[in-house]
């Protein structure tokens, strides 16, 4: 990975020197070995801080959201999942393709700095495993789907078996059992909204949960409001979730958010077919549930 770091640094330095970019988004090292975080290089001198290592798990496509209203030309290094995030932002017209110079990195799988931080912090009695992060073991697209330049050898998907196995189990439950299951699952949510903030697909300028007049979803920690939050958040992700797993990874109370995301991925796949969210970019294309046609079936109305 040192080699990849060097190559990315060299590309970023060249882009700065040729005046082709104003910023380069990637990762940098924090003070401890496992602390790798998102980074914005602003000039050729900053480039030396860029790293790509086994903890570069953060989905940097999310960092683009802070630049959507400005005019900087942006270089960005992306893994497979991050690149799918860029496709989402392009589809949603949040950023223009010609502002971006994308350096794709086929991803060998990452470790989770948060799990390492928890192990290091001493709050838990049991140590968590320090192998590849769960989201990386479940990854179907380690290779970037959109890029101007590719660095490093292609990787094969790590996901094994039926990725909808658990979803299918839950589908088999009776309606009451299922309700109970989700009610229990969401009862521990502290509504910190980290799962929303870390999500690149949550790119709405005004989020429904922040609307006050009218207030669509209450702020109580109650099963009603918690369920409303999650059902609304996740249904907004139908056809949009790029399966980057960041929401589940950052949740401070370990809510299995990917389970609901996968249910929606499965349903959207069955109902609409076509490639999954962010898997390919075709200019002007929209994901399912983002277009309106006169002849849309509306049997439920």
């Amino acid at each position: 990975m040192k080699e990849i770091t060097n190559k990315v640094q060299a590309i970023a330095a060249k882009l700065f020197e040729e005046g082709k970019i104003d910023v380069f988004l990637a990762w940098e090292k924090g003070e401890l070995n496992f602390k790798t975080k998102s980074y914005v290089a602003r000039n050729a001198l900053d480039v030396k801080n860029i790293v790509f290592d086994e903890y570069s798990i953060y989905n940097v496509s999310n960092s683009l959201l802070k630049f959507r209203d400005s005019h900087e030309r942006i270089g960005i290094a992306v893994k497979g999942c991050d690149s799918r995030g860029i496709v989402r932002l392009l589809e949603d017209l949040q950023i223009k393709r010609d502002r971006l110079y994308i350096v794709g990195i086929p991803c060998p799988g990452m470790k989770d700095p948060l799990a390492a931080a928890r192990n290091h912090g001493g709050f838990s009695k049991k140590q968590e495993e320090d192998g590849l992060a769960k989201k990386c073991l479940d990854c179907i697209q380690p290779n970037p789907v959109i890029y101007d330049e590719l660095v490093g050898p292609e990787q094969s998907p790590r996901q094994q078996g039926d990725r909808f196995a658990r979803v299918k189990e839950i589908e088999q439950m009776s309606a009451d059992e299922r309700y109970k299951f989700w009610e229990d699952t969401f009862s521990t949510c502290i509504r910190c909204y980290a799962c929303r903030q870390v999500c690149v697909a949550c790119d709405c300028r005004t989020c429904i949960f922040d609307e006050m007049k009218p207030q669509w979803v209450g702020r109580e920690n109650s099963s009603t409001d918690n369920m409303m939050y999650h059902l609304v958040k996740h249904s907004h992700m139908a056809g949009r979730c790029i399966e980057c797993g960041e929401c589940e990874r950052v949740c401070p109370v370990n809510i299995p958010l990917m389970l609901l995301n996968r249910k929606l991925i499965k349903d959207v796949g069955t109902l609409f077919g076509g490639p999954e969210a962010g898997m390919q970019y075709v200019e002007g294309s929209k994901p399912p549930l983002s277009v309106y046609r006169e002849n849309d079936p509306d049997s439920f109305l």
Binding site: K35, F123, S124, R196, N254, I255
Partner: protein
């Protein structure tokens, strides 16, 4: 000295729970925080008194994340308060670390001093007793010593426990402490116990002069750089033992409903949005700066002590590695060009 042997710990918690709601640090399924002893499920939950700390602080016991305040009934144009819910039922926080005790003492300043008393907080706090757990071995991210907390002698604790291996030395510190001690007097033994050796702090933090220096740093360029990675989730504020911001909201069904307060966070855009739609802290950087200025400058100016208690939680949970210790360092090192 009085000692509660660990073999009698569960008996003591049972006994205290007869008349009190007792909050203890636990690992409960996927959650790590303070939960009531009555909710403890043998074989599933794990008591965390012997761990450094738990992720969700005990502030929930005195400032619940959601707290019903009063119910309302409207008849025509008239709106009447039907019932208020000031809740003074007896609670005990059992085993709070010094940093978390300080969090509550800081909230006492906010809710009970400077000319206004919050009756809901006052009621809860009046029924609340704090049994602290002294720290002899600070963790990797602990820096309470730099934030005016004495982890061995937490100020504001009604009882202080000291883990002496097979028992807890039980030190009574106040009348409230006497009262809970009386409840389990028959379980306490009078004997000598050997206290553990005090280990040094790993984090070295120097907060001196930071509040004063920050006064002239509101527009300093360092905030741009420091805030860059922050995604303005509210995780750091929700796990923090001393963040107390709340919002008051209402739920109505036709003519009836209730008002409640719920934790809020300065990290949320909606928190500082004004009725007309403007927002003085519309940008991510501004909300980020607010959090750290409140912790390190404003609170110190108003109450004479920082609002960060050095517990280290936000350092562990932040998904973008924002580290308040590094922010203190950065402020210390910053150059101010007047």
């Amino acid at each position: 000295m009085k000692v509660l042997s660990k073999a009698k710990l569960e008996a003591a918690l049972n006994k205290l729970s007869d008349r009190n709601e007792v909050f203890v640090p636990m690992q409960k399924g996927q959650q790590s925080g303070y939960f009531t002893w009555k909710s403890f499920e043998n074989g599933q939950d794990e008591l965390m008194l012997d761990a450094l700390n738990v992720y969700q602080s005990p502030k929930n016991a005195v400032l619940p994340q959601t707290e019903k305040m009063y119910s309302i009934k409207s008849q025509g144009v008239e709106v009447n308060i039907d019932q208020t819910y000031e809740d003074a039922h007896p609670t005990i926080i059992f085993g709070a670390r010094g940093c978390d005790v300080k969090g509550i003492i800081a909230m006492d300043d906010v809710f009970l001093t400077r000319g206004y008393e919050d009756s809901f907080y006052k009621a809860r706090r009046s029924g609340n007793t704090i049994i602290a757990n002294a720290c002899y071995e600070p963790g990797a991210n602990c820096f309470c010593n730099a934030m005016e907390v004495n982890s061995l002698e937490p100020v504001g604790a009604d009882v202080i426990l000291r883990d002496a291996g097979d028992g807890y030395v039980w030190e009574v510190k106040s009348d409230k402490g006497e009262a809970v001690t009386a409840l389990i007097a028959d379980l306490l033994e009078e004997k000598e116990a050997k206290l553990p050796e005090v280990k040094p702090f790993i984090q070295k933090v120097d907060y001196s002069g930071v509040a004063e220096k920050l006064k002239s740093m509101f527009d300093h360029p360092l905030w741009d750089k420091l805030s860059q990675p922050c995604i303005n989730c509210g995780m750091c504020t929700y796990v923090c033992p001393s963040c107390y911001c709340f919002d008051i909201q209402v739920k109505m069904w036709g003519e009836e409903g209730y008002r409640f307060r719920a934790w809020d966070s300065c990290m949320f855009e909606e928190y500082s949005r004004e009725a007309g739609g403007g927002n003085p802290r519309g940008a991510s950087k501004e909300r980020f700066r607010q959090r750290f200025l409140h912790k390190l400058e404003f609170f110190k100016e108003r109450y004479g002590t920082p609002l960060c208690t050095g517990c280290g939680r936000c350092i562990i949970v932040c998904p973008t590695d924002i580290n308040i210790v590094r922010i203190i360092d950065a402020v210390k090192e910053a150059e101010i060009n007047a």
